[in-house]
């Protein structure tokens, strides 16, 4: 189709720039999973705009299909294959939809000041989602009158994209392909979520093909609905029981490390903070060791369900040295044991954490209220830490060991106050 013709007759060409502006505006108002310059998170947030782009291209597609419906063209003998005809009609629609998606991604990266490639997995899935919804809209437009087809295509696709986000459990939303919750800096996109979204895309394409098939019979509406329903059910089955975000731990092989001991490892996006973090570790590690604190072999930003005991989990939020000490203090503490999430045996370790962190901060030489002042019972913390610090070193070690033991196991009462 000639460009001039497209510009003259296609609503996608007229409204495409407006769609791009809306997508850009939308991409800027969604809260990301992280404010770090993590390309996957930025792409996912921008990709969430498919919840508006998809239904809109479905409506555009329905309008284009409506032209052929009104002309009765689809049922007539034609020289060009049906796919070529549909492709020619949908080309401006896809350009408008994918252009809007590209604009949303570009504005999100520009806002974050990140010059990097977007995550190709997310871009690929969103491209498939937009294409499938455009083709399904086209097929609906081909079989229903435009007066119903265009709004129906929009509302059906909008409901599919938005409704799962409004109901629980959260994983109902993952097959849509709109993943604003992906991903914090220590996590990666879950392959199950990708597989789930692709399954739904394939089912939408099959539903569209069922509607496009000639000769047409009413049963094809039933077959198309069945294909879409089966795809959605399979997509949901693939992500059933997932956590609140479609994520898995990020591959630790990309960590950037500074030599130790203890070694410090950060994600590439935090590379600029590594030197400061290593300097702080070199300063506080001997102090903590002298005070009897058992240090891990390395501090790392990696996340997994079960971290080895030789790794202390930290997040280097900034290159502020005091913030880094606070993060390291948290990394020194043992992880919460699985029994803490069950109610059979009481877990007292949560009570100990604040006291031990405040003590570690004090031992590291930071102002004593640096941690306590941000805490609700800050005065109590300060009083306890001052009392513990007044004890002889051996008793301080015993106090620390008692609290660490309470953090490692359930049913162990910590000696919060030194007099206890």
């Amino acid at each position: 189709m000639a460009v001039q013709t497209i510009l003259r007759i296609s609503p996608a060409a007229w409204l495409g720039p407006i769609l791009a502006l809306v997508a850009m505006g939308y991409a800027r108002i969604i809260y990301p999973a992280t404010y770090d310059p993590y390309p996957l998170a930025l792409t996912s947030v921008a990709g969430w705009t498919v919840s508006v782009i998809g239904p809109t291209v479905a409506a555009f597609g329905a309008w284009e299909g409506g032209r052929l419906h009104r002309a009765g063209w689809w049922g007539l003998p034609h020289a060009r294959p049906a796919v070529v005809v549909a492709g020619a009609s949908l080309a401006p629609v896809l350009v408008a939809g994918l252009g809007a998606l590209g604009a949303a991604i570009a504005i999100r990266f520009a806002d974050a000041g990140v010059l990097a490639w977007p995550d190709l997995r997310v871009v690929g899935v969103e491209t498939c989602v937009v294409t499938a919804q455009a083709l399904l809209g086209f097929a609906i437009g081909l079989r229903l009158r435009p007066v119903v087809a265009v709004p129906a295509a929009f509302l059906l696709m909008f409901t599919w994209m938005a409704l799962p986000a409004a109901i629980l459990p959260v994983w109902l939303d993952f097959p849509t392909g709109a993943w604003a919750g992906c991903c914090a800096i220590d996590s990666d996109l879950a392959p199950r979520a990708v597989a789930s979204a692709i399954t739904v895309v394939v089912s939408f394409l099959l539903a569209a093909l069922a509607l496009l098939r000639q000769p047409f019979a009413r049963i094809q509406f039933g077959l198309a609905s069945l294909a879409a329903a089966l795809g959605i059910a399979t997509g949901l089955w693939l992500v059933r029981g997932m956590d609140s975000n479609p994520t898995v731990p990020r591959d630790p092989s990309v960590l950037v490390c500074a030599p130790g001991p203890p070694q410090v490892c950060v994600w590439p996006e935090h590379r600029s903070r590594l030197a400061t973090a290593a300097r702080v570790v070199a300063k506080v590690a001997p102090t903590w060791q002298a005070a009897g604190v058992p240090l891990p072999a390395r501090f790392s930003e990696e996340w997994s369900e079960v971290l080895p005991s030789s790794t202390g989990r930290v997040i280097i939020w900034s290159d502020n040295e005091e913030e880094i000490v606070l993060s390291l203090a948290r990394g020194v503490l043992p992880p919460v044991p699985p029994c803490a999430l069950k109610s059979e045996v009481p877990y007292f370790g949560f009570e100990s954490r604040d006291y031990v962190i405040a003590w570690l901060v004090d031992v590291a030489g930071l102002p004593p209220d640096r941690y306590a002042s941000t805490h609700v019972n800050g005065d109590e913390l300060l009083g306890t830490v001052a009392a513990v610090r007044a004890l002889p070193p051996e008793e301080q070690r015993a106090w620390l060991a008692g609290n660490l033991a309470a953090m490692r196991a359930c049913g162990v009462r910590p000696p919060l106050e030194p007099t206890q």
Partner: protein, 195 residues
């Protein structure tokens, strides 16, 4: 008249009104996230505010389901009948929503009923403005525009964003009623479908 009612898809219209009532019962206060660009966040748009679009769309479909050329030379007052038909479907939907409200089984039912009146009115106006095929598109576009730009920080909503108002907002009822009357008036005066 039986044939005319069949052409005007009376069964489909009644079925959609029944589906509206059932959907209101099932969805309750469910709200869908939609970008509110002026507010700078996502807006939780009650699903009940969108459901009446189905009634307006089926009305647009029904009014365009006949043969315009044949109806242009009919001896019966087609414009009057079509307008009365649209008003009757809107009234039926309003009645269904009213019943749900009286039975105290759906809190957003009155707002859905009000929106049905306004949406049907907008559809009738849209048929005149942009033609019978595009009238529901204009309506859906208006609702989307309302959600995206009708709410801004510090203001609950703008005066023109009546579909987002609570059912207790009397001005929104006035808007919806006025749009229905205006739609009926332009539909009676002249309709492109018969020209």
């Amino acid at each position: 008249m039986t044939l005319w009612l069949r052409v005007r898809r009376v069964h489909a219209c009644v079925a959609v009104v029944c589906a509206l009532a059932v959907s209101l019962l099932l969805t309750g206060n469910l709200a869908l996230p939609i970008p509110s660009l002026r507010f700078g966040s996502t807006l939780a748009l009650p699903f009940a505010f969108l459901l009446p679009l189905a009634v307006a769309i089926i009305v647009a479909y029904a009014l365009g389901a006949g043969d315009p050329r044949a109806e242009a030379v009919a001896c019966r007052p087609m414009r009057l009948l079509d307008t009365a038909y649209a008003l009757a479907v809107a009234a039926l939907a309003l009645g269904a929503c009213g019943l749900l409200w009286v039975a105290d089984v759906s809190a957003p039912a009155p707002a859905a009923g009000r929106n049905t009146l306004g949406y049907v009115g907008l559809t009738l106006i849209g048929r005149r403005l942009v033609g019978p095929h595009a009238a529901p598109i204009l309506l859906v576009g208006f609702v989307l525009f309302t959600a995206m730009f009708g709410v801004r920080p510090g203001v609950e909503r703008d005066w023109w964003a009546w579909p987002l108002a609570d059912a207790s907002d009397s001005l929104s009822w006035l808007f919806a009623g006025a749009l229905l009357l205006l739609g009926a008036a332009v539909s009676l005066l002249r309709s492109d479908a018969y020209s």
